[in-house]
Structures are given as C-alpha cells and as structure tokens.
C-alpha cells in the first residue's frame, strides 16, 4: 500500500475516523493494528520479521534497564545489535557478499560452489532495524528509560507513516508522544493537510513525471550527447528528491493529523553550498543516525585530521551501503566521503571563503551551483547500473557535450516544466529557512500556492507512477 493510492486513502479515512473517537489507549491499539495491516498489505509473510524484531528489542531494552552489570549490559546490547544486523545482512546483503566472494575466489583460480539465495527484500527493513537499534543503544547509554508498555513499543516500531520509508525515528522523540495522551490542534491539522498535499505534488507531479525522462537517459546501451546526459542527471536529482521528500512530507503530514510530530527529513537540500550542509538537509534522519551511532562512537573529529577523515569515509561508505547491496552505492558513499574530506581541507582557504562561502550574492550563486553539480555527480554514480555505464556517461559530459544536440521536447522543456514550481517553493523555503514557509505567507499568496498545487497535480500529475524509490532501501 503506497501513500499515493486509493487503497491508502480509504485505509487512512477509516483509521482516522476511528482514531478521532477513541480514547488514548484505544488509539494506540488502533495504530498498532492499522500499522500491521499497512505492512501486511505489502507482504504479510514478513510481518513475523517485524514482530520478532519488536519483541527482541523490547525485551533487550527491559533487561538492560533492570541490570547494572556492565558485562551483562554489553551482552544484551550485542544480542540486540547482532539480531538486527543479522536480519539486515541476510535479507539485504547475503547475495551481494556471496557473489563478490565467489568472484574473488574465482579470480584466484578457486571455483567455490556458493549458495546464492534469491531472497526477497522485506520492505522497510533498513528503516525499522535502524529505529530499533537506536532505541536499544539509547537505553544502553541510559539516555532514555526502557519503555514498559509493549503496545507503545510496538507502535513506536511499526507506526505506519514512517514504517517503510522513514524518517528513521528516535525513541526519545516518538515514544513520549505515543505514551502520553495527544491533543490535535487546528494548526497541526492545517500544517498536516498542507504537507500531505505538497508531498503528493512532489511525488505525482515532480517525481513520477521526471522518472521516464531520467529512465530514458539511464537506459543501458543508449549513447546520448553530454548535454542530454546532464539534463537526464538533473531529472534524476529532482526525481529522487521529489520521490523521497514527497514520501517524508506525506508521512509527516499524516502523522501531524494524528497529533504526532515526526522528524523533518529534508530541508531544501539543493539550496546549500557545502557537503556538510547537504547532509544536514538531505535525509536528515539517516545522517543524524549515522553521526550519533556510528561516526561519533568511531571517534568523530577527535584525534586529528587523519582519524577524522578516516571516520568520515567509513561513515559515508556505510551510508552508501545502507541504500543497497551494490558497488555503485559503495562508490557513492566514497564519493561523498571524499567530498566531505576535501571540503574540510578547503573551507578555510581564502578562495573558498570569498568565492563559494562568502556573503555576496555571487558567492551564494557560485557555491550553490558548484554544490548542486557535485551532488548531481553523486547521483550519476548512484543511478548508474554499472561502472561501464558510469564511464560512458561521464565521458559524454566531459568530451561530447554537444550543446546543439539538446533534446528540447524530450528533455529540456519537460524538465523545466516539472521542476520550476518545486524550485520556486524550494527557494522560498531556503530564503526564509523554513520548510513550512508556505503556511506563513500572506493569505492571497498562500491560497495561490494551494490552488496551483491542486491544478498542477490534478491536470499534469502522473497518476500511474511507480512505488516510492526508497521502498527498496
């Protein structure tokens, strides 16, 4: 069941009608049942996995709180992390490692008969395992108390707005909202409705209309002029943003309607001027997770430049690998790691300070353009099906740009048409540093944005689009 389907619309209307009339405990039970139904609608067989993960981490949390024995606490933490990582490793990475090991031994002349399991990837597994791991680590660190109520904990893990594609929630933020009675303010209702509408616009109008354009450029075996490759990469950059930010906005909006606040996951990420800022604006819940549970425990920026750079690189590789079991994702992680390291070395130079990071308009424009294109290079690596395709496309951009070969009707015009409204709102959000700026605009402008969002989605939206990209991660 995806957010942009009629199935979800009816599901949510029924759940919401009941939610508004039930008392607090009843609401929590309803959310749990609805969330399990939501997950089972994709594939009921994996519901057991979700319940098992919930049971293991709930029990580990409770046991961690009861004991002060350090060894026993470490053992419990290890048990929880081991369970979750085993799930991830089996369902997400088993074939990747088996295939690569097979290739390595093959190159050494040893033909090993590895078992390759064609396992299905349970939707959302990367999200909910990270959610439960963060909970157990926080309890281990004594940053939060373990929750006693198994229903509250199960709702925290399975809460349907975030279950299959995030944001990756923190227990410290969500559990209290589940545990205590909630009030729904009119402001939350209005903000929630706008976030849902805007999220649908980002998915149906932007992402699903750009998908065929990007797909055509990334189709293996096609050779395009560099200008068209570049436009195709731009299309993918906005497609993946519209798709993922759209999902996150719908999730936040739906949740707000129920009086539960979720983390902001995107803050106009294409209007930043540095890689550091990009990761503070793109998939915020993943980057902060990696920072808090991986980068800082690794040593963070303590211990000198070399160690900091090493930690950054390892963290970003893990971030890449989180997206999927493929070398292009690893390469994408390396690319962003290197970008962050390079930025740390160059940010204090006079040139960077003056021309890229300075307060002038030209520095803003230059810095933004440079970072946007660096991000696009990252997306080219991310989206390419193979190293060969990556090489061919990069060669086209560098050595065969051929601006006269631009595909006007096939690429440029649709790209401008489907991104312009998003960029305008994006720019407005960046200028006011507020992702809900539209809600605060003067009434005439605000209603104009609402009406335009409605018309653009209804008249030009692609209602036969695909699932959300991040479902596969």
């Amino acid at each position: 069941m995806v957010f942009n389907s009629l199935h979800f619309l009816w599901f949510f209307l029924v759940v919401y009608a009941l939610y508004r009339v039930l008392p607090h405990r009843g609401q929590n039970w309803l959310l749990l049942i609805a969330s399990y139904y939501f997950y089972a609608a994709w594939d009921w067989r994996f519901l057991g996995l979700l319940i098992a993960s919930t049971a293991v981490d709930y029990s580990c949390g409770r046991l961690l709180e009861r004991t002060s024995d350090r060894r026993r606490r470490k053992w419990l933490l290890g048990l929880s992390l081991g369970f979750n990582l085993t799930l991830l490793a089996f369902f997400k990475y088993f074939n990747f490692f088996a295939d690569n090991l097979h290739a390595v031994f093959g190159a050494l002349g040893w033909q090993l008969d590895f078992v390759t399991l064609r396992v299905l990837l349970p939707v959302g597994i990367s999200f909910y395992t990270f959610v439960t791991m963060s909970y157990v680590i926080d309890v281990y660190r004594r940053e939060i108390p373990a929750t006693r109520d198994p229903v509250d904990f199960a709702v925290f893990v399975a809460y349907f707005p975030h279950l299959v594609a995030g944001p990756i929630l923190r227990a410290s933020r969500l559990l209290p909202q589940i545990h205590f009675p909630r009030t729904i303010t009119p402001e939350q209702m209005r903000d929630g409705a706008w976030l849902v509408a805007w999220g649908l616009f980002q998915k149906i109008f932007v992402a699903d209309n750009l998908a065929p354009i990007a797909n055509a450029v990334f189709e293996p075996g096609t050779h395009q002029a560099g200008i068209n490759v570049l436009l195709g990469v731009y299309a993918f950059a906005f497609q993946i943003y519209g798709d993922f930010a759209g999902y996150s906005n719908i999730a936040r909006g739906v949740s707000k309607l129920m009086g539960i606040e979720l983390l902001e996951n995107f803050r106009f990420p294409y209007f930043v001027r540095s890689p550091q800022a990009f990761w503070r604006h793109w998939h915020i819940s993943l980057s902060t997770w990696l920072r808090d549970y991986f980068y800082i425990p690794l040593g963070g920026n303590r211990g000198g430049a070399w160690r900091t750079n090493r930690n950054l690189l390892i963290t970003m590789i893990l971030g890449g690998l989180w997206h999927g079991a493929a070398w292009t994702f690893v390469l994408w992680g390396v690319f962003h790691g290197v970008l962050l390291i390079a930025y740390r070395r160059l940010e204090h130079t006079a040139i960077a300070q003056r021309w890229l990071l300075g307060p002038s308009v030209s520095a803003h424009v230059l810095g933004w353009l440079l970072m946007f294109h660096a991000t696009c290079l990252g997306w080219l690596i991310f989206r390419a099906r193979s190293a060969e395709q990556l090489g061919t496309m990069m060669r086209s951009v560098v050595a065969g740009f051929a601006p006269a070969s631009v595909s006007l009707n096939g690429l440029l015009i649709p790209l401008v048409m489907y991104t312009a409204p998003l960029i305008v709102v994006h720019a407005c959000e960046a200028y006011f540093d507020d992702v809900l700026v539209v809600r605060k605009l003067p009434i005439g402008v605000r209603y104009s944005v609402y009406a335009a969002t409605f018309y653009l989605t209804m008249l030009f939206g692609n209602f036969g689009g695909s699932d959300f990209i991040y479902f596969q991660f």
Binding site: L6, H7, W10, I443, S448, F454, Y455, L459
Partner: protein, 386 residues
Amino acid sequence: MSAPRSADAGAAVSRRARHAAIFAVILAAQFGLFETALRFWGHSEAAPAFQGLFDGDAAAGYRLKPNARVRFATSEFDTQIHINADGVRDDQPIGAKAPNERRILLLGDSLVLSVQVPFERTFGELLERRLNARGSAYRYRVINAGVQGYGPVEELLFFRSIAARFQPDLVLTTVFVGNDAEEAVRSAPRLLGDARPATSAAAESMTTRLRRIVRRSMVLQLLRLRVVSATERFSGTLAAPEPPLQSYAANPAPRIAEGLEVTRQCLREIDSLARTNGARTAIALMPARFQIDDADYGRLKEAVASAGGELQRDAASQRFAAALAPLSLPQVDLLPTLRQALPGPDLFFQETVHLTPRGHEVVAAALEAFIDEQHLLSPQPAQPRR
C-alpha cells in the same frame, strides 16, 4: 460573557467566509489561466475550436454545426474541417439531386467523419472519385454523414430526422465493431423519444448539458478523466474490475448481446426508411486498430489479461457479422482487406485510433469492390414496400 463570545464566533465565521471567498476567487482565476494555457498549447478534442464543430440536436443529442469551419491540429496532423449548410462534412451543399446523379450516404462515427485527414483524402471522397473516374453515365456523389461519437442509435436518429432528405440511392452504414455495441446500449433510451419517462429525459438532458459544459473546457475534461480513473480504481477495490474491451471478451458482459440487438434494430429501421425512399442499405464493419496492429494488440491483450479477462482479437467483428446477418443486408468486413495491406506505411495514426490517409485509400478501394460485387448501385428491382 456570552455577548463577546458570540461576537468572537461571529467574527470567526465571517473570517472563514472571507477566506473561502478569496480561495474561490483564486481557484477561478487559476482555472482561467490553466484553461488559456491549455487551449494555447494543448492539442485535444476538448479545445474550443474543435468543440465549435458541434451543435445541439433534439433527436440525436448533438450534430455537426452547419457551416462550421474549424482547424484541428495535433502533433500528427493539421486539418481544416468544413461543415456544409446541411450539417455534413463537405465543401459543397448537398443540393437538389440531378437526374443522372447517384448518391451514397455514409453513416457512422468519427472513423467516417475523419477529422484527422483533409476532406479530399477521406475514404468517402476517395470512393466518389474512384466511381466518377470510370466514365459512367452517372455522376456519383458520396455524402460523408459521419459524426464524432455517434453510435447506431444516433445514426438512425440522424438519418430519420436529417439525412433521409439527402435522397440517397445507397445508405452505407459503417459499424465500428470496437464500441458500437456499448454505445448502442447507452443510447437505446433515445429511441423511445417522447415516450421516455419525463425523469429519464430530464436526467439525460442534464447529463448532456453537463457533458457539453465539460467538453468545452480542457481543464474540466482533464479533471473528469481523473475522476473517472479514480472511480474505476475505487470500484476495482470493491469488486473484481471488469476487463476493458468487452466486445472482444471471451465471456462478454450481457450488455454486449443487448447492444448487438439494439444495433440490429437500428439498422433494420434505417433499411426500412431507406427502402421507403427507394434506397438500398449495406453494412461495412470497421475493425479497431489493434485488430490490425500487432504491437497494439500485444499491449491490450496484456492489459486485459492483467484485469482478469481474455481478449479475442476478432471476436467483435465476428459477433457483429453474426448479429447483423439475419437482416440479409449486403455486408463487408474491412478487417481482411486492412490486414492484407500490411506490411507498409501505417494504416492508423499512433496517437488516435483513426485511419491515416493510406488507411483511407485501402478502405475506399475495398468499398468500391464491395459495391461492384454486390451491384449496390445498379437499379433496384421492384420490391414490395414494408
């Protein structure tokens, strides 16, 4: 305390009303903007220029507007369409019939009207030229009385109220096997005319009026498509959705048989009226594009299968042929001829399901052969009037 509270409530209501009014004005203004933009850039039958071709009609619901002149352009074609004073697509008025003139009246839908090609390249006009090129003592006139969206019921009503006056010697009814059965069922209540219940007539008049309003606006047309698609998807979530193209289904819905029966009744009535005027009637069965185009067929077959149905490529042609056989009217199925014309340049346009100029040539040749074979223009033997 209560006075200020009610004043607050009143202020809140008036604020909401003001906001609703502002939003309504903005919605209306943007409606105008999108409508203008779509009319300027969009190519669609919803464009007002195209809609200018039609006018209301008491019997058939609508008809072609006499003396309308419209240019219709899409990425595949750019056509000037002239409707003559008699309300059919022609450069010249029909006028009085000369003693040596033989007239063929073509009844049908958009596949006969053929707004996609210039008038001189429509199969009716090509047929006329072919017949006149033989150097016979007669002058042949083929009258294109096709109207976009018509089915057998509207064709009968149009013939009865208008086209019978054109004094045809041959009425050639082109049945589009793809949707004529469905359209016949939908329009069957029109056959009752004044005998229809008042509520049914009023509801239909309201629906027609609404349709006309929607047809005139490109924004409303697009919104209607969204609503239709959502309704179909919703009904699909409640019950097993009906696979599309029921006329070709292995197990068609009961309404298809009903539609075939209505079609038979309409053609019998047309034949009866034609005979009264000394004319003969013949039937041409026009296939759908996918019956000729393999790629199109493959795509549709998959779509129907995914909706739980089974598409039988020639079922509709066979069903119409069988259903109309009891009328004992000369009948030609254009499917074999169109198939024989492959391979070669396209017979149908890609973005519409209508004939290309080459498709028209093939059909004109097939109709000429059919007319000769059945001696449809030779003097009719005296027959008792029914």
